[in-house]
């Protein structure tokens, strides 16, 4: 049983890893338009948040440019928010903050998930049992509750702190999946050969197991990134977003609190809503199309 690995990767069954990556990308270029579409969309969003402020010469998101919910004009392209600040500028900085928090949360979640998953899957026995028991408990306790409790305990929440608390509450699914992959990979012949050659556990995991599920980890990261961004927005809308920062969720929080929806000030809530949707949609598309590239069984015939 164990030799038929559920690893969703065309690469893992071939001896040449880089050759596999090259071939997968070749297939992607030729056939998978959705992959390139989502990747370009993401790059565009990233560029908008990083270089936008300099390109459009709008570098101060806190500058007051008008009154409460001024309609879009030549001066303020997307109108002003409830404080009279420029929505367009806020949008660029908000996207940046949201992406940053998602990135930190995703990296932390992947790191914890991979360490726990590979350790449990590789060692098996007691270590596996206790690590997975811990993981299962963390899965059952709803993360939004822990996030709410942690956020009210922190009186000031910086952007890295937000990423950190979202990351440390969202790793269990990755840990579970990585464990399953690891325990099937560790019985492969090349791992046995490395073990006989005297390689230690850490080096075996790093050199012989991790590279073979790299595609899988990348996809898990994309999902964690996306859920991290959405978690941040949800917390911010509850009023528990990062303090002294502008994120897409915080823009929505103020827009809701100051009744922009009911007063018809669409420019205050449609842009952050659209940006969040675009980010979530392109990440989902990236994940599913990457899955098709790496996993030949899902490819359309």
């Amino acid at each position: 049983m164990a030799t038929i690995a559920p690893v969703s990767s065309a690469v893992s069954v071939r001896p040449g890893f880089l050759e596999g990556v090259r071939r997968s990308l070749a297939i992607a270029t030729k056939r998978n338009r959705r992959f390139w579409f989502s990747l370009s969309l993401l790059s565009l969003l990233l560029a908008f948040s990083l270089f936008g402020p300099y390109v459009f010469d709008k570098t101060d998101p806190r500058r007051l440019v008008g009154g409460l919910y001024d309609a879009p004009s030549a001066e303020a392209w997307l109108g002003t928010d409830n404080f009279g600040r420029d929505v367009f500028t806020q949008l660029m900085f908000g996207t940046r903050t949201s992406l940053t928090i998602g990135l930190i949360a995703g990296l932390i979640a992947i790191l914890i998930g991979v360490v726990i998953g590979t350790t449990a899957g590789y060692h098996g026995g007691r270590i596996e049992e206790s690590l997975m028991a811990f993981t299962n408990i963390v899965i059952t306790i709803p993360s939004i509750v822990i996030l709410i409790l942690l956020s009210i305990a922190l009186t000031t929440r910086s952007v890295p702190t937000m990423g950190l608390i979202i990351g440390v509450t969202s790793w269990p699914w990755t840990a579970r999946a990585v464990r399953a992959q690891t325990s099937s990979l560790r019985t492969r012949e090349h791992v046995d050969i490395a073990r006989i050659s005297g390689a230690g556990a850490a080096s075996l995991i790093l050199r012989e197991i991790l590279p073979y599920m790299l595609s899988y980890i990348v996809m898990a990261f994309v999902l964690q990134l996306s859920s991290g961004i959405l978690q941040e927005a949800a917390l911010a809308m509850l009023g528990l977003g990062p303090s002294n920062a502008i994120s897409l969720g915080i823009m929505l929080h103020w827009a809701l609190l100051w009744e922009s929806v009911r007063t018809g000030a669409w420019w205050a809530f449609i842009p952050p809503t659209a940006l969040l949707t675009l980010i979530a949609f392109s990440l989902l598309l990236l994940q599913s199309s990457a899955d098709e590239i790496f996993n030949p069984r899902l490819r359309r015939k």
Binding site: I137, P142, A153, T277
Partner: protein, 337 residues
């Protein structure tokens, strides 16, 4: 004790352990707030100018005594557990002297009345659409699949905001929020009921749409996976009738969907938090929102407790039900395989 009984006991012990951890977290995390939450709230009250002098001092002392904040931490935890056992979640800071359990039990029925029907309707419609799209394919699949994928990839609160704006503000088809008109007081009359329905359908539609999208995508994927499974090919080869095969596929594809339903019902309070804020619906989400704004820690803690109890119980029930439904678990637990 048979192995199957041991499976049940094992699951029960896990449930109790997870529950204890949840309780400790719920107790401990808010107490990590630097300084003393009572200081914060009393400072806010005196800044508001409402209370001052001896009255303020009395208030301060009564809060300290009620939460036992002058006691060591372990004793505070015992007081917390003791109160909890009596169903007492404490006094609200912001709306003192209202009890937390009263505020929550006033809001909870609204949340359940909104979320439960939305989850059930969304589940039934979504699964039917997903299964049909998988079996029939063709034009149905070309419509259902992309639109479900699109709906389920929109963050649910974004969908709620857009629907509220379109239906309530642009097209004027629904009130812009609340559970009933501001000029009406809750009563058991037809006119009040009609008013509640008028406010109900839009938040309901938003929630149900989200569930339909997610369920349809999941059910379609499960069905396609099962359609391609070896046992289906084998059964076809044996000449088993199509209806029979469809029944097998359906049973197998439904299992994870039933789990999903149970878990959604368990998580219905947390699932509706933000949509309620968008629609100013008088449920738990709106209560949480105002409590966070007023630093009303006892109410926040009460709500997180309610959410945890719901989710943990649903998980436990699913585990137990799986023990009975899934022959693989039953076989493993009773040592048949």
């Amino acid at each position: 004790m048979s192995k199957f009984q041991r499976y049940l006991v094992n699951k029960l012990l896990w449930f109790i352990l997870a529950f204890c951890i949840a309780l400790v977290l719920n107790f401990l995390l808010p107490r990590l707030i630097p300084g003393n939450p009572v200081d914060t709230i009393v400072a806010q009250m005196s800044a508001g100018g409402g209370v001052s002098g001896p009255a303020l001092e009395r208030l301060y002392n009564s809060y300290i005594a009620e939460f036992g904040l002058d006691q060591p931490l372990w004793k505070q935890f015992l007081i917390y557990l003791g109160n909890l056992a009596q169903g007492d979640l404490g006094t609200s800071f912001a709306r003192s002297p209202a009890r937390v359990q009263r505020l929550i039990s006033e809001a909870l029925p609204w949340t359940i009345a909104l979320m439960l029907p939305a989850i059930l309707v969304g589940w039934i419609v979504g699964n039917t659409l997903g299964a049909l799209a998988a079996y029939k394919g063709g034009w149905l699949d070309r419509i259902v699949f992309p639109s479900s994928l699109f709906v389920s990839s929109i963050p649910y609160y974004c969908l709620a905001i857009i629907l509220l704006y379109l239906f309530a503000v642009e097209w004027n088809l629904a009130p812009t929020g609340g559970g009933y008109g501001y000029d009406k007081a809750p009563s058991l009359t037809m006119s009040f009921f009609a008013d509640v329905l008028r406010h109900y359908w839009l938040p309901f539609l938003a929630q149900a749409t989200i569930f339909i999208g997610g369920q349809a995508v999941g059910m379609r994927a499960m069905s396609i996976y099962e359609l391609d499974a070896d046992y289906v090919r084998f059964a076809r080869g044996l000449g088993v009738s199509d209806n029979r095969i469809t029944a097998y596929i359906f049973r197998n594809a439904m299992l994870p969907q039933v789990t999903g339903l149970a878990l959604s019902i368990g998580g219905l309070v947390s699932g509706g938090l933000i949509s309620e804020i968008v629609f100013s619906y008088p449920g738990i989400g709106t209560l949480l929102f105002t409590s966070i704004r007023t630093s009303d820690y006892p109410v926040i803690q009460g709500i997180t407790l309610v959410v945890m109890v719901g989710v943990l119980t649903a998980n436990f029930i699913v585990d137990i039900a799986y023990g009975f439904i899934d022959p693989r678990i039953r076989a493993k637990a009773s040592g048949e395989s």
